[in-house]
């Protein structure tokens, strides 16, 4: 029951002075109360829990997060400690290689 899922607002209406919406969850449509996000517009994505929109889904944050995943590791590969990276890839940690001295 604690699940909250994103859905798209496809219809807006007022019922007993309460702002309601029909929200589409990938084909399943539900009535959702919008009182907690009063400025939602048609086509917005909201996060819905037990019939209430509790938050707007921020698309630009979502895209930024996904882009940050895409870039993860690239900077380290480019600018990081290449030897440490190679050691880790070879399954050797710092301790196991420490104290062995430099190869002649």
């Amino acid at each position: 029951m604690c699940l909250a899922v994103p859905g798209k607002v496809v219809h807006l209406r007022d019922e007993d002075d309460t702002r309601m919406a029909e929200v589409d969850f990938g084909g399943v449509r539900k009535d959702v109360c919008l009182q907690y996000i009063p400025d939602v517009e048609l086509g917005d994505y909201v996060i819905v829990h037990v019939g209430f929109a509790i938050q707007r889904l921020d698309e630009s944050s979502a895209r930024e997060t996904l882009a940050s995943f895409e870039n993860l590791g690239y900077l380290e590969e480019e600018f990081g400690d290449q030897l440490a990276l190679a050691r880790r890839q070879a399954g050797m940690d710092e301790e196991s290689t420490a104290g062995k001295g430099e190869l002649p």
Binding site: L3, H49, V50, F52, I54, Q55, D58, E64, F69, R88
Partner: protein
């Protein structure tokens, strides 16, 4: 649906996992607070893909599981009354009370109705003015705004035959209680994303500071969880303990100010018993004085309840992260989703149910027939 598939992308998951593997130099124990996250972790096998030594301890964030036995017994007593239509979310139906469960008394003729939203219960109250309609209002901060709005609407629309059996619980006091426990092994937290969608993140820096523990606000899709784990281990490896938000698309720092205002109006903080854990000071909400007349416990003056917890079930230890579900002798034997001994085997967010649903073959002893 928007941003469900994208946050399950296997290539990006691999990238995050590689980063976690590259970061970790020693064992760490992290707790995911929310039962929804537990299910995602077990369902996607995330715990098995992590570096050896990174342990996910499953937290108490299953509202169905921590609802105290006394409240379940009260629900059973109220629901059995002839003048009552008792409305509940589906997962409460099979939660064991001292003697039986709501499902049993429904089959014996009590008028128990499953609803998707508390507003559905209010509608039932409006359509049945001659009956008392009670909604079983449990849950964390995520669910509380829905129940608060329903009580507010009941008052506004004059629907006086509606009442709420309230047992709300709060995450931050539970984190404090876990950290204060002498048996605590948790070194970092994945905080429950949707709780923070409502409440924001400002309650957490004081906890991170006080217990010197990283807290990462985390979502529910596989990439969200991996990113939460990644940020937590990066902090641990560098000796930091801060609050980070790995679920920005759904969690603004302030949460939902409109919902928080409604919560302040309708509820007030109270001590709360957590099933399997015990009483935690100031860890719950009850109706405020202004709305107290909608409190079902008050309206029905439920008599003394003598609770009787199963002696076999170890769900309390599971909820505190002290044992994994399959370390309980009853798990998968006397205790199954069909015959649950504890709420953790019932709820879609319970750790025992997650282990049973996704790992049942692991439990059979070698050579057992499948």
């Amino acid at each position: 649906m928007k941003y469900l598939e994208e946050f399950s992308d296997p290539q990006l998951a691999r990238r995050l996992l590689d980063q976690i593997h590259a970061t970790v130099t020693r064992p760490w124990a992290l707790m995911e607070v929310c039962g929804g996250q537990t299910h995602s972790i077990i369902r996607h096998g995330i715990d098995q893909l992590l570096p050896e030594g990174i342990e996910m301890i499953h937290g108490p964030g299953c509202p169905v599981c921590v609802t105290p036995l006394e409240i379940i017994d009260k629900a059973l007593e109220i629901a059995a009354r002839e003048d009552v239509i008792f409305c509940s979310f589906g997962d409460m139906l099979r939660v064991p009370g001292s003697k039986h469960d709501l499902f049993r008394i429904k089959s014996e003729g009590s008028d128990i109705r499953l609803v998707y939203s508390p507003l559905d219960a209010l509608k039932i109250a409006k359509e049945n003015p001659q009956r008392q309609v009670v909604f079983f209002g449990i849950g964390f901060e995520t669910t509380a705004p829905a129940n608060a709005m329903t009580v507010y609407q009941a008052e506004r629309l004059g629907i006086e035959n509606f009442s709420l059996l309230v047992s709300h619980v709060l995450v931050p006091p539970a984190i404090a209680a876990i950290m204060e426990s002498p048996s605590c092994r948790v070194q970092g937290f994945l905080a429950a994303g949707h709780v923070c969608s409502v409440m924001g993140t400002r309650e957490y820096p004081a906890l991170a500071e006080r217990f010197e523990v990283p807290i990462v606000v985390t979502g529910f899709e596989p990439l969200d969880i991996l990113e939460g784990i990644r940020q937590a281990v990066v902090q641990l490896e560098s000796g930091r303990h801060e609050v980070q938000n790995a679920y920005r698309r759904a969690v603004p720092e302030d949460g939902n100010p409109v919902a928080k205002e409604m919560l302040r109006d309708v509820f007030e903080v109270t001590d709360r018993a957590w099933r399997g854990i015990g009483s935690i000071p100031r860890s719950g909400w009850r109706l405020s004085e202004r709305y107290r007349r909608f409190d079902a416990e008050r309206r029905f003056a439920v008599a003394d309840i003598h609770t009787d917890e199963s002696s076999v079930c170890r769900s309390g230890e599971v909820l505190q992260g002290l044992i994994k579900p399959n370390e309980c002798a009853a798990f998968g034997k006397q205790c199954t989703p069909r015959n649950p001994l504890g709420a953790t085997m019932v709820s879609s967010e319970g750790a025992c149910a997650a282990y049973y649903q996704y790992r049942r073959l692991d439990l059979l002893p070698a050579g057992a027939s499948r």
